[in-house]
């Protein structure tokens, strides 16, 4: 992984010292809250219902075991023993004390971590395919480019006060595991005819109150032009993005109101002006960054597959876990293991300090010191020898992390909702846990197959409900919590925005409603290979609405 150079290290340290001074001045009353709030937000410190919330950046979702251990230390020393991994591949702490946050940040800096640009109207953490560098379907490892974007966008003076926040996602594989089309900029790294790297570029996707799918503006942007092109997009957005209305300030609205072709022409014009300038990426620099992400040096494991087969045959629980949570690695004899943070009854994305340490140990012993955070709020060990999977699984069982439900109905995304979030209309976590409990039977989950349920506690859509096969949005009506269902959304390939099915349900009723939809799907599907989403797309919304509201 990328290692800080002297500049990075000195910079982060200086930034913590600066924030420490700002905190002291706030505590002494020298700074008012009005003056202090933008300063704390620039350092990832929010104020939520029960206290401060700190969002720590995990660049493109990549951690080593020392960093994971530090996250555990932070949870134990400064928080209440746990942290929440988010859909933005970051981690949030719910209970830090303002007076202690400077010390906390100093501790994080020791393992090259920080909370800069995790809030505010700047370019946020670039998210990436969590299987980067490991996936069998990958053409280009996106991590070096995510790192290059990180370096370019960190404290970019021109883009520190954009009309609104700005999110970039990147993948380099056939299957889109980074939801690139619901980001302000989505990048898909490709190989050209001669093996050279280029990018398919999408602009103007987003969720929130006005969900939109990004529009393609480039089929193949040459590698050397990556930063100049991004700069051109950002510059056009910075100039023309709507600062008059925060609900219309994202680039998706600009794309929508201006029209893709016209905006693209503006971007290209700006790009022509700057493409031969300082941002041109020299091959040597790309190679220098890429060297940090060199393949893990995975030795051949000729007998691994047969050992795995024997172990699977003798342990049904392990077998089920491998079939759901392990996928093919680009190197034979290895697998990519998803560690589900969705045990039935637990809070999606939460991990205790002990669990974080258990994962750190496993990464060190069996996983080439590499851990990923997924936008589905799970963790991943991207390089595990097939003959080590059993040992990994046994340790995960011990740590309460062995749920064999990756991609199944209980693998639910849920935002913090009204249990923590100051902007929430309703709770979302209890809906997630109750649905998971309703479908707790592992056999039934496997029968249902691939299913993505995503829940947000308000229209900001942090829980990605717009792209859930079944999305659930909390709305408040006369002081009561109600839940609206959307159907047919999908992130990744064939991205689609779910359609609202109709009026909302009470907390109890929404659990039944989901079950009704699932049961209907099971009776209607052509065969066990047709997923809920496919059946929905084939039949259209009406019959599913009929299940929810009766024949109209």
């Amino acid at each position: 992984m990328y290692v800080y150079d002297d500049f990075d290290a000195a910079f982060v340290k200086a930034r913590v010292a600066q924030f420490r001074d700002q905190v002291n001045r706030r505590l002494s009353g020298e700074l008012t809250e009005e003056q202090f709030k933008p300063l704390r937000l620039m350092n990832g410190v929010y104020l939520q219902l029960h206290g401060y919330m700190l969002r720590v950046a995990i660049p493109y979702g990549v951690l080593n075991s020392a960093q994971m251990r530090m996250l555990a230390h932070v949870a134990r020393r400064y928080d209440r023993g746990y942290g929440h991994f988010t859909t933005r591949q970051n981690i949030q702490y719910n209970w830090p004390k303002l007076v202690e946050i400077p010390d906390l940040l100093d501790d994080l800096a020791r393992v090259e971590m920080h909370a800069i640009q995790t809030s505010g109207n700047c370019i946020r953490n670039t998210t990436a395919d969590p299987f980067a560098g490991a996936a069998a379907d990958e053409f280009v490892d996106p991590r070096p480019y995510a790192e290059i974007i990180r370096q370019w966008s960190s404290l970019h003076p021109e883009f520190s006060f954009l009309p609104r926040k700005f999110k970039v996602a990147i993948t380099g594989a056939t299957v889109d595991r980074a939801a690139i089309k619901v980001h302000d900029i989505g990048l898909k790294a490709l190989r050209g005819a001669d093996g050279e790297v280029g990018f398919e570029v999408f602009v103007g996707g987003g969720q929130g109150r006005t969900p939109m799918i990004a529009k393609k503006v480039r089929d193949f942007l040459p590698e050397e032009d990556l930063l100049s092109y991004l700069e051109a997009i950002l510059r056009v957005y910075n100039l023309h993005g709507r600062r008059d209305n925060k609900y219309k300030a994202r680039i998706k609205i600009l794309v929508h109101e201006t029209g893709t072709e016209e905006l693209k022409a503006e971007i290209e014009a700006e790009w022509e002006r700057i493409r031969e300038g300082a941002l041109k990426l020299p091959k040597a620099d790309v190679a220098r960054i890429a060297a940090f992400f060199a393949p893990a040096g995975l030795a051949e494991r000729p007998d691994a597959a047969s050992k795995l087969a024997t172990e699977r045959a003798s342990d049904a629980g392990f077998d089920a876990w491998v079939s759901r949570n392990v996928v093919a690695h680009k190197v034979e004899g290895y697998g990519i293991a998803t560690i589900s943070l969705k045990a039935v009854g637990e809070i999606p994305g939460d991990a205790s300090a002990e669990q974080m340490e258990a994962v750190a140990d496993l990464a060190e012993r069996f996983g080439h010191d590499d851990i990923r955070v997924t936008h589905e709020q799970n963790l991943v060990l991207p390089h595990v020898g097939l003959d080590d999977l059993k040992a990994v699984y046994d340790a995960l069982v011990e740590a309460g992390l062995a749920s064999a439900n990756a991609g199944l109905i209980s693998d639910i995304i849920a935002c913090p909702g009204l249990d923590y979030c100051a902007l929430a209309n309703t709770r979302s976590i209890p809906i997630a846990t109750r649905i998971a409990e309703r479908f707790a039977d592992a056999e039934r989950q496997r029968l249902i197959g691939d299913m993505k349920i995503k829940i947000s506690g308000c229209i900001n859509a942090c829980g990605h409900h717009h792209v859930g096969h079944i999305g659930i949005l909390g709305v408040e009506k006369k002081g009561q919590e109600f839940y609206q269902i959307t159907l047919g959304g999908s992130a990744g390939d064939e991205t689609s925005i779910g359609a609202v099915a109709g009026r909302g349900f009470s907390e109890d009723a929404v659990i039944d409603a989901v079950e009704g939809l699932v049961d209907f799907y099971l009776t209607e599907r052509r065969d066990a290979g047709e997923t809920f989403l496919q059946t929905y797309r084939r039949l259209g919304p009406e019959p599913f609405k009929g299940v929810l509201y009766g024949a109209q």
Partner: protein
Amino acid sequence: MKSITANRLKDGEAVWLDARGAWVTDARRAAVFRSDDEAAAMLETVSRQADVVVEPYAIDVTVEAGTMVPVRLRERIRARGPTVRTDLGPQAALAAVAA
């Protein structure tokens, strides 16, 4: 009826103004103002305590069995803690007392 709440500056904890004008972490001890004007006047006063609390505001409350209960779910959750982690927040201390 109203009470006044805020988050404590130094640690972020949810606090309520009690009858003596102190900020307390136990919502049941919050002062209840019968008139909106009285609450507004008090809010005006405490809004000047910028180095103690952050963004104080008034909430609608009722009184049940002699103690304040917030009207909105949001404020009930602030007063007790997350409904999904009853081992955390003020409710944890209450449970410990009850046990």
